[in-house]
Assembly symmetry: C2
Homo-oligomer: 363 residues x 2
């Protein structure tokens, strides 16, 4: 496995590189000059967990490359991904009077990336964005592809923009400080790529899982590489989710409902997705799309990653209301991502409430 690697996300005028480099955190200032242009001012957005660990290194790297940075430290956690905190990022941008060509640096996990990204998309109708993801989930998924958003009290990621970064700068070594629960949550999105489009990768994950849970660097680097390649391929083919990109939402309609009903406080995003993928697997069997046994395969993989698979006992009304708010819905029928088997996801438009109720009753 190379210790340094680039993927080019080719989107015409919105193209950018994903760089994966062990120890790269100390080179972000230099890389940003290459991706954004002459060093000027920038705003770093990070959180209370990441700041004590990595902010000073990033500031030093930026300063060495000629950048003048201001930092904004927000609370940690999905429950902080709100319009109110997004508004604080905009206040900080206004306060520092950043110009149109001066970047926002998102240093953190998916919450920081989504919120800082959406602020960068909106401030002056768009300033450059650099993603420096510090969790496994954000390194393998959310930092790539340009989806930015905040949550509405009644639905996850309901307020946002498609807004591509100028650079995604991944240092796998920052994961050494990652909390075990956060690591496992990130593995849910890694498993997702296997379930959607790469059965061989799903097989490989079974072998790698013990090493991944131990944060062995070779195994971690391998799954970051494979995941970023899958994400980049899908995004290049369908940037704005007119079709194929929706496959990446496997497990997310159920998962978002789980997160929203528990007000983003009980489950990490990846945990919701893990349970959601299990539910999607059972529903795929139930509607006759997948042969019997799929759910068992999915559960085995999730359990190998020590992820939760128990479906929480909400009322049917809670489920349906939360799922009705999901972005994937089209009219009365739900649009869901189901599976014909491992590695073969498919969008299904025709799922009715009765089928969902049957599914919920079965748990």
């Amino acid at each position: 496995m190379n210790s340094f690697c680039h993927y080019r996300v080719d989107l015409g005028a919105r193209s950018y590189d994903i760089s994966i480099e062990a120890g790269g955190l100390d080179r972000v200032g230099e890389a940003m000059r290459g991706a954004v242009g002459d060093a000027g001012r920038c705003l770093i957005v990070t959180n209370t967990v990441v700041a004590p660990l990595y902010l000073s290194r990033v500031e030093a790297s930026l300063s060495a490359a000629g950048w003048q940075s201001v930092s904004l430290i927000l609370p940690d956690g999905e429950s902080s991904k709100t319009v109110a905190n997004w508004s604080l990022v905009l206040d900080a941008l206004m306060e520092s009077k950043l110009a149109r060509n001066e970047p926002v640096v998102a240093l953190g996990g998916g919450v920081i990336g989504d919120m800082a990204g959406f602020a960068a998309a909106c401030y002056r109708r768009g300033v450059p964005l650099v993603q420096v993801p510090t969790t496994l989930l954000s390194q393998v998924d959310s930092s790539v592809g340009g989806k930015t958003a905040v949550n509405h009290p009644h639905g996850k990621n309901m307020i946002g923009a498609f807004y591509q970064p100028k650079l995604v700068w991944i240092d796998p070594l920052v994961l050494t400080t990652l909390d075990g629960r956060q690591l496992r949550a990130g593995l849910a999105e890694v498993i997702k790529y296997g379930l959607i489009r790469d059965a061989a990768f799903a097989e490989r994950l079974k072998v790698l899982m013990p090493d991944l849970l131990q944060l062995r660097s070779d195994a971690i680097a391998e799954v970051i590489h494979t995941s970023c390649r899958h994400k980049a391929e899908v995004v290049m083919r369908d940037e704005r989710e007119a079709g194929e990109r929706a496959l990446l939402n496997l497990g997310h309609t159920f998962g978002h409902a789980i997160e929203a009903i528990t007000r983003y406080r009980r489950y990490l995003h990846g945990e919701g997705v893990a349970i959601g993928m299990r539910m999607a697997a059972r529903l795929s069997e139930q509607v006759g799309l997948a042969p019997a046994g799929l759910e068992q395969q999915v559960v085995a993989l999730l359990q190998a990653a020590e992820l939760p698979v128990a479906v929480p006992s909400f009322t049917a009304a809670q489920w349906l209301d939360a799922m009705g708010h999901d972005k994937k819905s089209v009219g009365e029928r739900l649009r869901l991502v189901l599976m014909r088997g491992v590695g073969r996801a498919q969008i299904v438009d025709s799922v009715g409430k009765a089928e969902i109720t049957t599914l919920l009753d079965s748990f």
Copy 2:
């Protein structure tokens, strides 16, 4: 002058029509089906002034064409163009659970168009937007071109998105109920097209002005047509304001400062722009770009439209602070739109604070 006319704004996948039709308000439901697709649900966003005049006609037209509409009525005026009110639009969208393919209809002036447009851009990362502008300013300028935004307490339009509508549906007859001050404010943006890129139109406006102030329908239709044509041409060449489109900001850096310093309560946008164009004209003379006499020509045209031209007496610090927040700034130097003469605007990057101070002192 035709009573019905289309302009096509050709922007690839984001192309759309501007339709100008006397009495067209009663046909908006049908037109929306053509531009957006099968009739479903939609959200009408309007304000307390427009709703009693035109909302029921729009609702009737939508209903006749098969649309189910919900309406949200917001306060009137630039001071209501806030994150808080934008958030109310998003709450209404969540409440009505609009799907990704169901449109937002902005029925009102520039404030409603900007705010509803920005909400449409962000809800589910973008739903279709239909602009039904009801003021002269929004018919000739803000409804076309995809700029949406809300104001930050420290700067106008600082939070927003480039987001093109699916249709701009203009009925000049709705202007018959327009307040005289609003009409004159709209004329400032009409005059702007003449000053920027069409000296013959500026001449023609001198002739038309008495008829325009009387709301004579032929004259009004003529300036809407010419203005929309200019706006569409510029937007097609430079959708995201990388270059030429910035010319449309003539007078706006000064104008936005005037609006912001007075908290969006004392001047209408067009009034700020009128005063700002006068200031830009004097500065153009001062820096030797334009021959002496330009300011006088500009003032004469603005006064013919009964627009204010007196520069308010803020302190230099107030001016510079407000202008420093303007989106048109690049680093320490201001980027301003100046004129070489009537019909010949030019972007100037090199204006320093000393030149601004000299200008301010001269009033």
